[in-house]
Structure formats: C-alpha cells, structure tokens
Amino acid sequence: MHDLLGYLLFCAVLTAGGWALAGLMTRVYAAERTPLSPVFDPLERGFYRLAGIRADVSQGWKAYALAVLVFNLTGFVALYAILRLQGALPLNPDGIAGMPADLAFNTAISFVTNTNWQAYSGEAQLSYLAQMAGLTVQNFVSAATGMAVGIAVIRGFTGERGAGLGNFWADMTRSVLYVLMPLSVVVALVLAVQGVPQTLLGAVHATTVEGADQVIARGPAAAQIAIKQLGTNGGGFFGVNSAHPFENPTVLSNMVQCLSILLIPVAFCFVFGRMAQDRRQGWAIFAAMGVMFVLGLVVIWWGETGGTAVLGLGTNMEGKEQRFGAGLSALWAAATTAASNGSVNAMHDSFMPLSGLVEMVNMMIGEVVFGGVGAGLYGMLLYVVLAVFLAGLMVGRTPEYLGRKIEAREVTLAMLAFLSMPFGILAGGAISASVPAALASVQEAGPHGLSEILYAYSSAIGNNGSAFGGFGAATQWQTTTLGLLMLLGRYAIIVPMLSIAGSLGAKQRAAVTSGTFPTHGPLFVTLLILTVAILGALTFFPVLALGPIAEQTALAAGHSF
C-alpha cells in the first residue's frame, strides 16, 4: 500500500515539476530572457561567434537534419578517438588501457545516439578523462540533440506557416546551457551530499574488518550521474549502474534520480501544448503517456512484489538492493524503460517474466511513454500522425492535426520511420537467435534466453541502453550489430520526423470547426493508446509469446530451465 501511495505522490510531484519546467523551456527555445541569461548569454554569444553561427536564422528541415548529422558525426569521431587513446591520455589514475576497436565503436555510437548501452564496465574500462571529456560531454550533447530535434518537430507541427524549424546549433546550445546544465549542477550536488563520490582520486585499497583486501572504485561520479539521468542517457559510472551504492546510495538519491529521469520528457508534453497555443494538446499527449506508464508500472510492481513460488520467494529480491526493495525497483524499471534511460537500480534480467515484458514493450513501441528527452515526444507524434490519419478519415474529412493536413507524404514518412522498430528488433533478433556467433551471448536456457535477445535488440533500437545483464553484449558480433541498430533507431526516426515537421510546417493551417477531428479529450487519448498498442505492440506479440509469456506460463506450471 505504501508503494502505491508513494507512486501517487511521485506522479503528482513529477507532473507539477514537468509543468513548471515547461514554462521555462518554452521561453528558452523562443530565445527569451530567463533567470540564467546574465550568466550564460555572453558564453552563448561567444560560442556562436567562434562557430560562425547565426542563431536567429531558421533552418528548413533538410538543413536542420544535416546539422544534426554533422554534429553527431563529429561527436562520434571525437569520442571514438578518446576511447581508443585513453591509455595515453591524462586523468587515468588507475592506468586503464585503450578500448578495443569494436567496443569503442559500440560505445561511441551508444553515447552519441543517447542510447548509453554499456557493453563495457565503467570502473574497469574507462579512464576519468574518458568518463568526463568523453561520456559526460556526449551525455549533455546527445540529450541536447534530442531536445533540439523535439523542439524543431514541435515548431513544424505548431508554428507559423513557412517559419522553418529553427536553428539546430542554437537549440542544441540553449538546451545545454539553460536546461541541462543548471539542473545537472543542482542534482549533482544533492547526489554528492547523499554520498555519491566526486573525486579525482583513484580506487582505494581497503583491508576489511575480516582482513580481506577490497578495491573500492570511485571517481567523479556525481556530476556524470546527474546528467545521465536528466538527459535520459543512463550509462552508469559503474558497471552495475544505479544499483551501485556509490551511484545511488540512499532512498532520497533514488527519488531525485527517478524524478530527473522523467522530468524533461514530461515537460516536453507541456512545451508542446504551450507552443501549439492550445495546452489541451499537450495534456492529451501527457495523458496518453501517463496512462501507459501507470499501467506498466502496476504490472511490474505486481510481478516483483508477488515473486515466484518456484524460487520459494515472496518479493523477488534477486538482483535488487535492500534499500530500494521491490517498490522502488519497479518504479525505476518502469520509468527508465519508458523514458529511454538505460540506467537500472535492479537487475532487469532477474525480474519476473511479465515485468520484463512490460519493460520490453516500453522499448518496442519506440520509447514513446515519455521517452528520451525530445525523442519521446517526436516518437509519440509519429503515432499521432498515424492515429489521426486512420481515425481522421472516420469523421469524413482529410485527416488533419493541429489544422495541418496529413497527406500521402506525411503517411509515407511516418511509415518509413515506423518500420525501423519492427525491422531492427525482429530482423536483428531473428538473426541473433540463429547465428552461432550471436547465440554465445545468451546466458539463459529456455524462453528467458529469447527474452535476453529481444531485450537487447529492443534496447538498442529504442536507444534505451539498459539490458538483461546476463546477455553478453561485449562480443564482436553484438557490439557491431547493436551499434548499427542504435544508429538506425536514432536517425531513421529523426530524419523522417524532421521531414514530416518540415512538410507540415509548410502547409496552411485549417480553421478549427466542429467538423474538425478533436485531438484532445479522453476519446483521443484512448485512440492514441490503442494505436500504440495495436500498431506498436501487437507486432511483437508472437515473439513476446515465445519469450516472457511462455516463461510466465512455465513458471506458473513450476518449470525452470
């Protein structure tokens, strides 16, 4: 009962926080003055002058998309170089060697695409320089890229006709300076006070009470963890991520992080409503996401607190931390898989089958239940386009959203973007389930092994980054295929969505009449949820039946594998 009350309070605080942040963000992206302007305005201008950027020049969708790709490509090359060369670079007190090529490729893509999949173990394979100048930087800018694209898409959907999508460089810079950076400073300090290390000193050797040697890894963790949560990144400083007592030492640190994970994605719903100058539109999308989030949360909570008779357990505590128990582990799992944040505070691989199913579905539908910063909103708008097209016809008019007609071009682009999820998960997963080189990564026998494969591919293409940890992702096969799928999952959606936004933004906005298909209110929310469920989730029903559902029925019958 305390769990459910806690969830309720959490959702209320989250909604209020997101709503408040949305007001600030709307001003930031309109280039209006905000409380932090005196601090960052000179810095921002300096950046633009050095980079030769005219921030007030609005870009068309092609220019915007090109800027995104060029910036991310540059980031990839830089990060790859740092990872390969870290052994020879400074700030490496533990003397960690350079990363192998395939792992560096995978890691660099993973952080540039905001996936933050960890095929490596942070404390053992990354120098402090790589953590700070490599990963932390990408934590900021990959999140800022998602936010910028999110804003650009909103501008296309809601803005004046022919106003363009805005300026990527300015949107990206402002996302970092005025949103991510200030929030990160606050969260990082709270975490440091709670006990998250923030030090440049190397690992410490302890002699335990019973006389054993214990090497305690530490480092500048608090700063990175703050942005890993706020930017829906999720790549941990330590291998076990936010289950590690150094990453997430207290219940308070857990709640602050959990809030940080969902805060900006929630705010994006309201930013959408504000920029559409019809807040009901934002509330409708928030409500659809919220309902799906709560449904998922309740299923996971039910599974984890219920445990399984096969193991003779009540609450399923395998892979969970005592301070979090089932309640906060379930909340975290629901929040992170919904928000495309790859962090974990309990091991998903050890969750009950139906909990794993919810986690996978959250990712398979394309991370649209709040989703990644910016990415969740534009992902959901993809479903909105499809829902409006189908149901819009049923009111006897050419379907339109926010007054803009959804026509062949938009439907084509939406289907193109939409195809990447089933393609990546099903094709990638099917090959992985057949090729011996891939099968070596699977830890478990029986249906749970298939779940491990599905989870990995869903996570990669959904740019989530969490994993069923038993899955050996560090093989050359997996680092390569998963790396490529992360690229597909990021850019095969960004580019078509920007194109849709560009196309809609060039259309005249139709007047609203009582003949206009209403895109707010409970009916539309229901429709949107059903569209996500039927177009998004149902596609994966057969494989989910073979994985988690088969495992659940086997458990119920008392089988283990």
């Binding site: 540059t74 932390t136 950076m181 030090t199 291998g239 128990g325 050890s350 089958p353 283990s560």
Partner: protein, 192 residues
C-alpha cells in the same frame, strides 16, 4: 566542407570544455569543499587505514558478525556485478535453495528473502531487519553478549522508510558490525 563542420567542431570543443571539464571539476571542487567525506567515497578509517566504505558491502563470514546479502561478484567493487539470473533459471533455483539451507543451518528459523537472493550491485551494504534479527541469536552466542544487547545495536542501526512511503527498512551491515565490535569487550583480532 569547413562551413559545414565549423559549427560542429567549435561547439563540440566548447561543450567539451564546458560540460566535460568545467562542469565536473566545478562539482568536484564544491563537493570536496562541502562534503569531503561523502565526495571521496564515505570511507571508514580505523587506526589510519581504510577498512572499507560505509556504502559498500564487504564480506563477513565469521559467526560473530552480521552477514551481508549474497554477492554474485564476491564483494568485488572493481568491477561490480550481479547474477542476472532469470526467475525461471534452474541455476538460480539451486543457488537459492543452497543459500536457504546454509542460512537456516547457521541461524535457525526461516531465511528471509534478502538473505537468499544476490543483490543487484553485489555490494548491497544493507540487509532487512528480519535478516539482521534472524542472525542476532548466533551473534550473541558467538560474542557472549546478551541477545537484547545485540538486538538493541541492530535496532539502533535500522533505518525506516523515507516519508513512510519510499524504500524498505534496512540495517547497514558494516556499521552494525563495527558497533558490535565496539560493544564487545574481547579484542576482535583474538576472537578470530
């Protein structure tokens, strides 16, 4: 080409300086100034040497001590790790059964769930109050302390839910064990 990449290169460089160096270094400076102990890993120093971290579990096998939760990574903090075994895993089933019988053999009674499952980090510094009190009789016998005294020390180290809503009640194993040692007249080295 340059016009295309110049904004990218300049902004990436600027962001690297800002978010990759200035930001973490500034946080480090503030944290070291404000909360140096927490910022350096909440280490516990006895007689000038580090014996562990308040936040990181270490193994206790002796009968005189509260035992932490099972660790799939053998309490290594470099790197950390979990079992990642799924609920339908036969291996997990065997491991749970083995831990249960071991715990029940050592302590009597029924093993609480946190005592038979490996933690997520392998470094879980805490156990449930049920687990701690379940071990109290064994510890009291081994140390020659009254059970009530052991129970009192455990209770003193028990944290409850935050706001009555969040997290589970828990007992920090290392701190409790240090308190037990402090309360036991015999020198710990001799006892081992």
């Amino acid at each position: 080409m340059l016009t295309l990449f110049r904004p990218a290169l300049v902004l990436l460089a600027g962001m690297t300086l800002l978010t990759g160096l200035a930001y973490p270094l500034a946080i480090t400076a503030i944290a070291q100034a404000l909360v140096p102990a927490a910022a350096n890993g909440s280490l516990i120093v006895q007689d000038g040497s580090v014996i562990g971290s308040r936040l990181i579990a270490q193994d206790f096998a002796g009968a005189r001590y509260l035992h932490p939760r099972p660790s799939a990574a053998a309490f290594s903090a470099m790197p950390s790790g979990a079992s990642n075994l799924g609920p339908s895993s036969a291996t997990l089933r065997r491991e749970v059964a083995a831990r249960r019988s071991a715990w029940e053999a050592a302590n009597g009674g029924t093993a609480p769930v946190d005592a038979v499952t490996a933690s997520g980090s392998g470094l879980d510094p805490q156990i449930s109050p049920a687990n701690a009190h379940g071990q109290a009789a064994r510890i009291a016998a081994a140390r020659g302390l009254p059970l009530a005294e052991v129970s009192r020390i455990i209770a003193a180290h028990t944290e409850s839910r935050w706001l009555g809503l969040y997290g589970e009640p828990r007992v920090n194993v290392l701190l409790t064990n240090l308190a037990l040692d402090a309360a036991t007249p015999v020198a710990p080295a001799a006892a081992n």
